[in-house]
Symmetry: C3
Subunit: 156 residues, 3 copies
């Protein structure tokens, strides 16, 4: 893997975080391939090899629907997000995709002005090089606990 | 932007964090240009384009005064800081300055030994290359909430 | 220092974090030299130049014993860890070793599913290049407070 690709991958993960934190969810969609898989599961499910998901979007159309639903539900923006993402761990290239892992912490700030830890966990991502830059083909989000509200949640 | 500059920018942000965390505020001043702007505002102010600031230091002299005031006020060091700063997002070069953004989380530890989240937010920085290395020309700190005590606070 | 070594050092710190977080403590041992020093102390001890330690393992054999003891004690895995590690600060090469510093935050998630801040602090590491890759010769962990339970704790 070249240093350039590594930098580009780090940039993709930083963009992912920033577009959620800035509530630019429509732009966030632009970081995903049409045939993407966005899945939030848990550490326990991954450890046991279970296919259970807290959130599962197969294909960008489902992801688009989710963003539209969030926009409809959150008429009043009830909190803001802030991501801290660790350095990436490069796990090799398979099937033409770059596989990377990273740790994350997401903090939420309420309208009352209180910031608190919302979720910590890991990303397991598969990334494709395209003419328009890098895109996520798979974004597997693995929070350390399933005890997080996901119904109306912004993406992790 | 060369890989070298990118590394140097990341180093500058890491030094910024370390010198605050190690309570080396006089050395921290050395990371700023004489004509610098150090401003702490809020997400809301930035979103609405408001010029309101929680802290505003125009020029290094004001920053120096602030550090002197902190030294006088905090006869007893009441807490220690610890920064976690995300990977930088390079936003381009304008007017000879490098523009970068990053997320931060600051944790404080009290003298009683309790560590807790103090502030999360973003940095929007403008950085100049000089013969003596990189310096901040603008450091805009954008906490996710204005509900933080700033009167006697160490810099973010 | 070449960009390659810098990347390799960042990778070593990321592996350190990941192997603890994934509860692969036996693999974590593989990141240390036989003549390593693993020491957890406090900010206050470092500031005063005191040799006091919360945890002190001189040599890999002691580190191996500690992992074995943890395995025996933690029959039920009582929590999981998640590390966020900052960008490294390269402090130069002395005695053939690379000296680097970084900030960390460790979050723990209980079996009841609550994630919370466990410890923040700094790493001061000395790293050796070997034919098999980089290894830690010294890992000095400096939590911002000594008020953390260390008897049965996983490594920081």
């Amino acid at each position: 893997m070249s240093a350039d690709i590594r930098t580009a991958i780090a940039d993709l993960l930083a963009e992912h975080a920033a577009r959620i934190d800035e509530d630019r969810l429509e732009d966030w969609l632009g970081l995903f391939a049409e045939d993407c898989l966005y899945r939030v599961t848990t550490r326990e499910n991954v450890r046991l090899g279970l296919p259970l998901s807290l959130i599962l979007c197969e294909g960008k159309a489902m992801l688009r629907d989710r963003v539209a639903a969030l926009r409809k539900a959150n008429i009043f923006n009830i909190h803001s997000d802030r991501h801290l993402v660790s350095a990436i761990r490069y796990r090799g290239q398979r099937d033409g995709l770059h596989h990377v892992e990273a740790n994350y912490a997401v903090f939420q700030t309420s309208q009352e002005g209180e910031s608190r830890l919302f979720s910590v966990g890991a990303y397991h991502d598969a990334i494709r090089e395209t003419d328009g830059g890098l895109v996520f083909v798979q974004k597997l989000v693995i929070p350390d606990t399933a005890a997080i509200p996901t119904l109306l949640a912004t993406p992790l």
